[in-house]
């Protein structure tokens, strides 16, 4: 079986083959691992990879798999329709600003029609006692402002659109 996971914007291909009591794994068509002693419980996967034992806590949340290996956490995203996603991502990046997390819209220091430069702060969003300034991705003119100062905004909600 083949799986594709996205981790930190890179795609990783995993080929998993079951053979009797073990699994043969090939990652990105290069690295090979022999996996034995696989145990899967509700939130724990344990196995031996090349004779080292791992106890890995995990939780599957839709297409995301959250994993904890010792003190390090990994969130892998199962790739399905990666092409569509990448496109939308780019489009948003070029023409608008949006907060990376839900928060309070503290300030929109620009108005519709303003000429702005790349890097100009278009909005300030506060979350968990931290203010995040959202800089303009490019030179342009403010086309539309969604949301008022003092309002709650959602993650990825477009606040300022450029022409």
């Amino acid at each position: 079986m083949n799986y594709k996971f996205n981790f930190l914007e890179k795609t990783h291909k995993i080929n998993l083959e079951k053979a009797d009591d073990l699994f043969k794994v090939i990652i990105n068509d290069k690295q090979e691992y022999t996996i034995t002693d696989v145990e899967v419980e509700s939130n724990l996967i344990s196995f031996k990879a090349d004779d080292k034992t791992y106890n890995i806590y995990c939780f599957s949340d839709k297409d995301k798999t959250h994993l904890s290996i010792d003190e390090e956490n990994y969130t892998l995203e199962l790739e399905k329709d990666i092409t569509t996603k990448a496109k939308t991502g780019k489009q948003q990046k070029g023409n608008s600003v949006f907060p990376p997390m839900p928060g309070l819209l503290v300030k929109v220091p620009v108005s519709v029609g303003d000429k702005v430069k790349s890097g100009t702060t278009l909005a300030i969003v506060e979350a968990m006692k931290m203010q995040n300034e959202l800089p303009s991705p490019r030179d342009g003119i403010v086309k539309k402002i969604n949301g008022k100062e003092g309002e709650q905004v959602d993650a990825l909600q477009v606040i300022v659109e450029l022409e």
Binding site: M1, N2, Y3, K4, F5, F7, H12, K13, I14, L16, F23, V25, I27, Q31, Y33, I35, V38, V40, E41, S42, N43, I45, F47, A49, Y54, I56, Y57, C58, F59, S60, D61, D63, T65, H66, L67, S68, I69, D70, E71, E72, N73, Y74, L76, L78, E79, K80, P100, M101, P102, G103, L104, A127, M128, K129, M130, N132, Q152
Partner: protein, 500 residues
């Protein structure tokens, strides 16, 4: 003694305070904002009252609503925890006026220690060293210039009402001074509504060391030794330890006595912390008084065996301090790491969301003060602190090993946390040496980056989980979800769609 206390806070500190109340036989009133309806702290309260909408300004900072809740439930006292209204003079005054005990210093003492310039003057009078510089705010640029020349560059401009690094600026030479003054004034105005600023000598390689003090209404005063708090990100402490590797017994006694003088001079009661900077030549300077129970109070509790929140409540209720200075000893070593919902690999950006899986460490020498449970939502409205992992052991080396091992056993899935980052600091040679200052995190940025050595293992686990995990899980949860078994099987293996 109080019969009922309202706890005007949320999260781990509200639970910490509720436990102290329970142990003194005091009933508790918890408060919550709309989004906190299911927060863990409410499970520890005898009564709960809704105090407003989710934004803090409408709820946990809403003086009127909190006093209203106290009156309605007939609470005799309010414990403010830390943050929110803990050091708010107006709130303390409003409690006093309403005949409700504010568990903290009087509004007068709060006002005195809250003003950086006023407290600086108080402290100077009793002979405790302060950082050389201006002793009052000013708008006269020539005064800034003159003082800077006297103390020598680099100098630091600070806002009188400042905190969290806002309005603070280091100036290396006279050329940059005027411009920096203007920027600081602007920042101070927009952050605190007050553009008063002043100038001090900039302390190089400073360590942030604070002393815990208790003082009752009858003038009895003791200190409970120091906390070393130099590991900070964005001017906020993330790892604290006691004893400090920087102090010897002589300096420890000297600073402890200085801390008591500061508290006495301010006529400050209950629990307070006196913060000092220690420079590379082991000279110390008064910084400020933290007029509240602090996030890092557990490490003091673990080495002295004294329950600080209990003492706070006893003192506020009018009891005499039952401790004398010579009874208080430092025993062993304690370290605290603050567990935050944030992404240390992305400028510590907060990471609210749902905790999907949780497993907290326990065992010998382990204390977890936690505000979370599996399934809880971390709202974006408040401070991102989730919990604190505190360890005690016989000595510093064993404490380091203990906290390192137990960070590994602290599993939080669903949101980003700083657990891995904390472990990288704890495991670093520079931390182990004990020779570090407040610039630690900036200076070691590179070596604290995540290694992602185990990415391949994560990918293998992810693939095994997709391949084997889901059906398995349906079986295991079968009891609670038994009625799901049939439809599940009818749908077949949904993983098929995830194959490429």
């Amino acid at each position: 003694m109080f019969k009922k206390i309202l706890i005007a806070n949320r999260g781990e500190i509200a639970i910490r305070v509720a436990k102290a109340c329970k142990e003194l036989g005091i009933s508790t009133v918890g408060v919550y904002s709309t989004i906190d309806k299911k927060s863990l702290h409410l499970r520890f309260m005898d009564e709960t009252v809704w105090i407003g909408d989710s934004p803090a300004i409408s709820s946990y900072l809403n003086i009127e609503a909190i006093l209203e809740a106290a009156k309605k439930t007939k609470a005799e006292a309010i414990h403010p925890g830390y943050g929110f209204l803990a050091e708010n003079e107006k709130f303390a005054k409003a409690c006093e006026d309403a005949g409700i005990s504010f568990i903290g210093p009087s509004s007068k003492a709060l006002s005195l220690v809250g003003d950086k310039v006023a407290s600086r003057n108080t402290v100077k009078k009793v002979g405790v060293p302060i950082i050389p510089g201006m002793h009052m705010t000013s708008t006269d640029i020539s005064l800034f210039k003159k003082t800077a020349e006297e103390t020598g560059y680099p100098v630091m401009i600070k806002a009188s009402m400042g905190g969290g690094g806002k309005g603070m600026r280091v100036v290396d030479n006279e050329k940059d001074l005027e411009k920096s003054i203007a920027i600081s004034q602007r920042e101070a105005l927009s952050s605190f509504g007050d553009d008063s600023i002043y100038l001090e000598k900039y302390i190089e390689e400073p360590r942030h060391i604070e002393f815990q003090v208790l003082r009752d209404n009858y003038g009895n005063c003791v200190h409970l030794f120091e906390r070393e708090c130099s590991i900070q990100r964005r001017h906020q402490k993330i790892i604290e330890e006691t004893p400090s590797p920087a102090l010897n017994d002589e300096l420890r006694i000297e600073m402890g006595e200085a801390a008591k003088k500061v508290i006495e001079a301010s006529d400050y009661t209950t629990a307070g912390t006196v913060e000092f900077l220690l420079d590379k030549n082991k000279k110390f300077y008064f910084l400020e008084v933290n007029a509240r129970i602090q996030v890092e109070h557990p490490i003091t509790e673990m080495v002295t065996g004294i329950d600080l929140v209990r003492q706070q409540i006893l003192i506020a209720s009018g009891k005499k301090l039952q401790l004398s200075q010579d009874q208080i000893k430092q025993n062993g070593h304690a370290i605290e790491t603050r567990i935050y919902a944030e992404d240390p690999d992305n400028n510590f950006i907060p990471s609210p969301g749902k905790i999907l899986f949780l497993s907290e460490p326990n065992g010998p020498g382990i204390r977890v003060d936690s505000g979370i449970y599996q399934g809880c939502d971390i709202p974006p409205h408040y401070d991102p602190i989730l919990s604190k992992l505190i360890v005690w052991s016989e000595n510093r080396n064993m404490s380091i090993v203990r906290i390192s091992e137990n960070l590994k056993m602290y599993i939080i899935l669903g949101i980003k946390t700083n657990i891995g980052y904390l472990k990288r600091i704890i495991d670093s040679k520079n931390f182990a040496s004990g020779d570090y200052d407040t610039h630690f995190i900036d200076e070691h940025k590179e070596s604290l980056l995540p290694k992602q050595e185990k990415l391949n293992i994560a990918l293998i686990a992810g693939a095994l989980n997709k391949s084997l995990g889901i059906n398995k899980r349906a079986k295991e949860y079968g009891s609670q979800y038994s009625q799901m078994t049939t439809p599940w099987q009818e749908i077949g293996k949904w993983e098929i769609c995830s194959l490429s």
